[in-house]
Symmetry: C2
Subunit: 210 residues, 2 copies
């Protein structure tokens, strides 16, 4: 978790204009890395896409890995905020189904392209970049904790039976979602995502009590 503060710390020292430039660079890098992968994106590509000079880019990011670090934080924030306000309130079976529907709709809108922005980075970087792997793990953990929060609330209110394990269910649900996003991208249709979320919500529903 400690590595996650480098970006924001550096950011605090920037002027408003500096922050805007930095944000433009990060958004450009995120876009390109999402489309072409990290390996397929050069610092020069990012420079062109963000319309900044080489020295401007270097001022904010001395190395490509710093840019990757900022992109991981950016994509994590984007992915989580795109699921709000649903994600913070997954504390009923109905809420879980609404969230499921919203995620499926988003993939339909995107024509099943792209997969998960965090999952794609993870697949590319997990084995080769230890620092990126830890940052991605921490991004997934934020997501998992948001899901877990809702399930724990249901459990505590007695809406899930005592033998339900909200921690395991939350991890299983996020894991299933990742598989669903990947296979939806491969098959170019949402049925993998739908069937796996339906199965997981049926499983969670099997612990429900009124």
């Amino acid at each position: 978790m400690e590595t996650k503060n480098d970006g924001p710390k550096q950011e605090q020292r920037l002027t408003k204009k500096g922050k805007e430039t930095r944000a433009r660079i990060v958004a450009a890098a995120a876009k390109l890395m999402f489309e072409r992968g990290v390996a397929g994106t050069t610092v020069e590509d990012v420079q062109r896409e963000a319309k900044v000079s080489a020295s401007q880019l270097y001022h904010y990011f001395q190395e490509k890995r710093e840019l990757v670090h900022a992109v991981i934080l950016f994509q994590t924030a984007q992915v989580l905020s795109a699921q709000e306000p649903l994600l913070s309130h997954l504390d009923s079976i109905d809420a879980l189904w609404s969230w499921r529907d919203a995620i499926v709709s988003l993939q339909v809108e995107r024509q099943c392209r792209g997969g998960c922005p965090i999952g794609s980075l993870a697949s590319e970087l997990a084995d080769s970049e230890p620092v990126a792997r830890a940052e991605l793990a921490s991004g997934f953990m934020k997501w998992e904790l948001a899901i877990r929060g809702g399930l724990i609330a249901m459990h505590e209110r007695g809406q899930l039976r005592g033998d339900a394990e909200p921690e395991r269910l939350a991890l299983a649900l996020l894991t299933a979602l990742q598989g669903g996003l990947l296979l939806t991208q491969v098959h170019r249709e949402t049925s993998p995502l739908e069937v796996v979320l339906d199965a997981m919500l049926a499983h969670i529903g099997s612990f429900a009590q009124s």
Copy 2:
């Protein structure tokens, strides 16, 4: 599916020695692309790893995309055969659990590195390489059909209730597995894989009848 015959057709024309050389090139390419990704692997890297000359490599593969094509077929065959004899006989709840245990053990052996060789290729290539995407989809379909075969057999024998849908359950199980392999790679521990497979097998088990 039609693209899948190019490789084997070409292969049939080769002498025994030619087939061996071609196989060595494909295995070398698969190894490097698994470790570094497709974008991170050059034709020259493959040449060095396979210990062949540039003209030898060119004799078998005129373009990198032909090599990628061969790697997809190779990895699909490897992944499926690594799960045998279990994969072809997933026709009881016990068999499903044994398969689950074998997959988890394999990840422990691999120290949770690598993820799924097909899933990793899919994440990298699905959006940028339409032919590769179709080949990967077909590789996943083979896997899905193997799982489906066992579940259909259980359904027909009445070991799964009439309202169970083996096709959906098979796709959900493979999808969950993909998510499990990805998050296991990210977190460097098997709990995501374990909890998602446990949840899916519990869900399938909820349709069981003796």
